[in-house]
């Protein structure tokens, strides 16, 4: 198992270097000069332009800038944002817990609802239940997030007034962040009602962010289950008289879960993409919106640093998925 783990880890190094090159190049390929954008309609004199370019180091050859970036990465310094002038790493870790908290809630919601729905649809294959679940999944999968988020806000926050409109917690509560996770910090603060407020603020954004992964997971679970339910060992299990619950829950599900876990792992990318829009609608202070704003401002340091950190996290999650995979299915280890 250790060799398997180390092998996977070794593959990550060239991948990480590749990602650093892509992250560095991507933002520079886009047309648009960050120094020019800083001044907007106000035209800068050529001297001032040259001075700023030099100050920001953009006048140096690209490869020098890249190795400077890579050198920084190795020493844990991703540079400063051109816009806020603050260290990229600081900004990332200030905002990341908000995205992580929301993403975790969303993925838990998606798994807790998506997997059982998929199993039900598979077991009741062809029934009206199966068809409605798969129909709903298709709708969920194709839902434009922005529209969906606003619709929920108008309905639940505007008309019914069940949930707050946006933000992470009511303005009533104020405590310095300890972990950055509002659910944890609100409990630690000891302020009455803070935790409840944090939960109520999480409901709508979690639903919105969970919608697409939920649909994908439900569909994947269904098809994996269907495949497994037709296998010989399931027939054997059934024929030796095991109760259906045990056949489905133990024999079928454990094997069907392998592709499902892969799918869940792949949803990390979908979550990050979804977080960009969800965070904007719900005024959620996370990294999704931070990255988008930075792309528009051509804030090179933030985009390359942020991409690298996000890619690093996705790689880490994939590594975990691989390891989980190995635990569930011993054949893969060898």
């Amino acid at each position: 198992m250790l060799r398997f783990f180390l092998g996977r880890l070794a593959v990550l190094i060239p991948t990480f270097i590749g990602v650093s090159i892509v992250a560095f190049t991507f933002i520079r390929i886009l047309p648009g000069d960050p120094v020019m954008l800083m001044s907007g309609e106000r035209v800068m004199s050529p001297e001032r332009y040259a001075e700023l370019n030099q100050q920001l180091g953009f006048d140096r050859p690209l490869w020098v800038q890249y190795f400077d970036f890579l050198g920084g990465v190795l020493t844990g310094d991703l540079g400063n944002s051109i816009v806020t002038k603050r260290p990229v790493l600081n900004e990332f870790f200030t905002l990341f817990p908000a995205t992580l908290e929301l993403s975790l809630c969303a993925i838990i919601l998606a798994v807790l609802i998506g997997v059982p729905l998929g199993i039900i649809a598979a077991v009741r294959r062809g029934s009206w239940l199966d068809q409605s679940i798969m129909g709903a999944a298709l709708v969920g999968y194709s839902m434009p997030i922005f529209w969906w988020g606003l619709l929920l806000i108008i309905l639940f926050s505007g008309i019914l007034q069940w949930t707050p409109v946006s933000g992470r917690i009511s303005l009533l509560y104020y405590f310095p962040p300890v972990t950055g996770f509002m659910l944890v910090d609100s409990l630690l603060s000891g302020q009455e009602g803070a935790f409840r407020s944090a939960v109520s603020h999480l409901v709508l954004p979690s639903i919105v962010l969970a919608t697409i992964p939920l649909a994908v997971i439900a569909r994947q679970t269904r098809s994996a289950m269907l495949e497994v339910l037709g296998e010989d060992y399931v027939r054997t299990a059934r024929s030796k008289g095991l109760p259906p619950r045990r056949v489905i829950g133990l024999h079928a599900l454990r094997n069907a879960l392998i592709p499902v876990i892969t799918t869940i792992g792949l949803q990390v990318g979908v979550l990050i993409a979804g977080a960009i829009l969800t965070e904007t609608i719900f005024s959620w202070p996370g990294i999704g919106k931070w990255m988008v704003d930075s792309v528009f401002r051509r804030d090179y340091a933030v985009v390359q640093g942020g991409l690298l950190l996000i890619a690093g996290l996705i790689m880490l999650v994939n590594l975990l998925v691989d390891v989980l995979y190995g635990l569930i299915n011993p054949r893969i280890r060898h």
Binding site: S39, E41, V43, L95, G167, L171
Partner: protein, 531 residues
């Protein structure tokens, strides 16, 4: 829990914290996060609202609701005969804020003023690069390094600026956010502790509100400054609840989660006006959207042609289709809220038939041209592509064939400056300091050709007027010169002036005392909540 209850709870909590019976918290749903809290470092209005107009003051201030300057931290000033020396007498007894992170031991004095400007000006000043990449963009952009000869402390309460040339807009520039006065004593404390960067994270000034805390991208909290020199505030706490999406801001306003919001969607404004709990303020913004011909290229070097094209544009249609009525057609290059705006001028009438005739008389047939449309939405032009399409169809009516072109924004700004550029460029401007010079000379002066002057238009008569207006200090005299300059502009038509967009501020009915700023600022000094 309903939102109304939430709101009541906020009030109760505020009461409990401050210990007074009627503590009031004012919540502003701001549109974005500040880049930082040192106004000298940045150029965005969002940052100025969060830092400059809350925490800080300047030597001069803009009189609320106008672009006129009035005394601020400087009680009075003298200008020397030659117009080069400005001597400012500081207001005595101005207190800096006392907060968890700083306790002042003295009142405002000349050292603070010197420090505030020298750090931006002198390359070798210890605070010049206190955050990496500090570029003091406005200080440079407004030309201060080339303008200022010296800044001296005459005595503890007197500061003298000596300029290299006469510059009437100088006073207005001192009322701009980048000229905010920071505390020298606070800076010394930070420097001693090696914590210089906190100047940009925990601001401290003399303004109406003191900084309490900022949760990145979420909430900024302020408290009223008890010893504020310009009087006590009616509210106890001020909160900026950062809400980037305009539809969501509107929902929060309706739910009572905030009291006031900036930048509504044009499509929501009618509903806001008829909402029982809301009221809406509106005013022409300090901006203009225009179409700049390249006056050096045929046939646009012919004023007849430019006039004819101007008469073919249906500006009302742009106001309706692009702004849903939230704009006014523009006749002058400066907006109506700006002093010296020339009311007398008559706009070229919308008259396609006459326009067609004028083109024929000018000997121009089968004209095909390019119109440049910006790729981004700006406050002065929400949808440039749509406006360009409307102009395209207007021009088709008089037999002019239009191709619409666009580039990535930075590319667009760069390419549109080129002196040999073809066609007409759509662009606009939002004023910096409320001074007409900031429109007329900046955008249409001879030395801006190849830069901000997208029409590449250098007219001797116009140039003389605006340069002269820069050098006299008497405001009425200046206004007269600018009014004449606007007449020359109208006769010569280097631009088609398109629209001035309206600035719309929706708020809850209980909000009192908010004054809409023609400069587009959101400042909350003097606001109150009255049930």
């Amino acid at each position: 829990m309903t939102s109304k209850l939430t709101f009541a709870a906020i009030l109760m909590a505020a009461t409990a914290i401050s210990g007074t019976a009627a503590a009031k918290t004012f919540v502003y749903c701001s549109e974005g996060s500040p880049e930082g809290f040192d106004p000298g470092l940045y150029t965005a209005g969002t940052t100025f609202d969060a830092a400059a107009h809350t925490v800080y003051n300047r030597l001069l201030e803009f009189k609320p609701g106008t672009t006129e300057t009035v005394p601020g931290l400087a009680e009075s000033w003298d200008i020397s005969e030659d117009g080069l020396e400005y001597t400012f007498h500081l207001r005595p007894g101005v207190k800096f804020q006392t907060t968890d992170f700083f306790t002042p031991t003295r009142d405002l004095n000349a050292d603070d003023v010197l420090f505030s400007f020298e750090r931006q000006w002198q390359d070798d000043h210890p605070w010049h690069q206190y955050v990496a990449g500090a570029s003091w963009e406005y200080f440079n952009g407004m030309g201060f390094p080339d303008l200022i000869e010296s800044i001296e402390k005459v005595d503890d309460m007197t500061v003298r600026f000596t300029l290299k040339r006469r510059e009437a807009p100088f006073l207005a520039n001192l009322a701009m956010p980048f000229s905010s006065i920071v505390s020298r004593e606070y800076a010394d404390q930070l420097e001693a502790a090696g914590n210089e960067q906190l100047m940009n994270q925990q601001p401290l000034g003399t303004g109406p509100f003191e900084f309490v805390a900022y949760q990145t991208d979420a909430v900024i909290r302020y408290r009223a400054h008890e010893d504020f020199w310009n009087g006590e505030q009616a509210i106890d706490d001020l909160v900026f609840s950062i809400t980037p999406d305009a539809s969501v801001r509107y929902q929060k306003l309706q739910a009572g989660e905030c009291h006031l919001m900036p930048y509504p969607n044009a499509a929501d404004v009618e509903a806001m006006k008829s909402h029982p709990d809301l009221k809406v303020m509106e005013q022409e913004g300090l901006n203009v959207a225009y179409l700049a011909y390249n006056t050096t290229q045929a046939p646009f070097d012919n004023v007849q042609v430019r006039k004819a094209l101007n008469m073919a544009i249906n500006k009302e249609a742009i106001v309706d289709a692009v702004f849903q009525g939230q704009a006014t057609p523009a006749k002058n290059p400066i907006p109506p809220t700006m002093w010296s705006y020339n009311e007398e001028i008559e706009d070229d009438p919308y008259d396609p038939e006459a326009a067609r005739q004028m083109l024929e008389e000018a000997g121009v047939t089968d004209l095909s041209m390019k119109i440049w449309a910006m790729p981004v939405s700006r406050p002065y032009m929400l949808n440039a592509r749509r406006a360009a399409e409307l102009i395209q169809s207007d021009f088709a009516e008089i037999g002019v064939d239009v191709e619409i072109v666009s580039y990535e924004w930075a590319e667009y700004l760069d390419r549109s400056r080129a002196e040999d550029r073809d066609g007409a460029v759509m662009l606009g401007w939002t004023g910096d300091n409320g001074d007409p010079d900031n429109f007329l000379h900046t955008l249409l002066g001879c030395d801006a050709v190849g830069g901000n002057n997208r029409a590449q238009w250098c007219n001797e008569e116009f140039e003389d007027l605006v340069v002269q207006a820069k050098q006299v200090t008497d405001q009425e005299e200046r206004a007269e010169l600018y009014r004449q300059a606007q007449e020359v502009f109208k006769q010569e038509a280097p631009w088609a002036t398109l629209v001035h967009s309206l600035s719309i501020v929706p708020m809850r009915k209980e909000v009192e005392g908010f004054v809409q700023s023609p400069l587009g600022d959101f400042a909350f000094e003097g606001v109150d909540l009255v049930e």
